[in-house]
Symmetry: C2
Subunit: 124 residues, 2 copies
């Protein structure tokens, strides 16, 4: 199935989707090949370690985060980038409230299908 | 060939690469599947209309831009997103100095090979 977003996503017109745990998101541009998501974290909010088959690149738009990828910890802040190889265990904890731009390839079908958000799936 | 970036790209440690025309960039995370690039524009700087076979998603990190995609014009600013279908003619003009996060899939081999930046290629 062909999935794609509008050409222009004017985020002032889009409500934040609350995911629980101090995390909310807005979908940005996507098709089957790529998906970009704006994810807002309150201080202390956490994406527990998880893995997926998609390549991920993340831009820290605002705030400060501690990432752990395959056992390697790093503090990143506004302007920094993160690259996560497919199937690698990774998680992030928000130190100062902020926004991540998460990009996946291929598209996160699970997000669009309304399924559970995988990075909170391991928390229960 | 397998190409991939470091896991963490701490951009304070990376110099801006001047592309001319008031535009400079830093590479963020990438592999063969995905490439994320931070692109800084001075007011008035322009990416002239061009097309490529890659899917593109762009996040407006700061500033204000006028995009044109396949003849459709739109002003976007901090927090907004843009989705550009493969092979669609597109360009952008910077209205207020800012930063775009351009993401491509697959990787822009042409960028890594040190070739000309395609979005200035039509300007001569």
């Amino acid at each position: 199935m062909k999935r794609f977003s509008e050409k222009f996503i004017l985020t002032k017109k889009v409500e934040w989707e609350e995911l629980g745990g101090g995390v909310s998101r807005k979908f940005l541009g996507y098709d089957n090949q790529i998906m970009m998501v704006q994810v807002k974290f309150e201080a202390g909010a956490e994406g527990t370690p998880h893995a997926h088959f998609h390549t991920q690149a993340t831009y820290v738009a605002q705030g400060k985060f501690e990432f752990i990828i395959d056992g390697v910890k790093q503090i990143v802040e506004g302007g920094d980038g993160v690259y996560i190889e497919p199937n690698l265990l990774h998680g992030a904890k928000c130190i100062e409230a902020g926004i991540l731009i998460d990009v996946f390839s291929p598209v996160r079908e699970d997000f669009l299908d309304g399924g559970a958000v995988s990075y909170f799936g391991d928390k229960a």
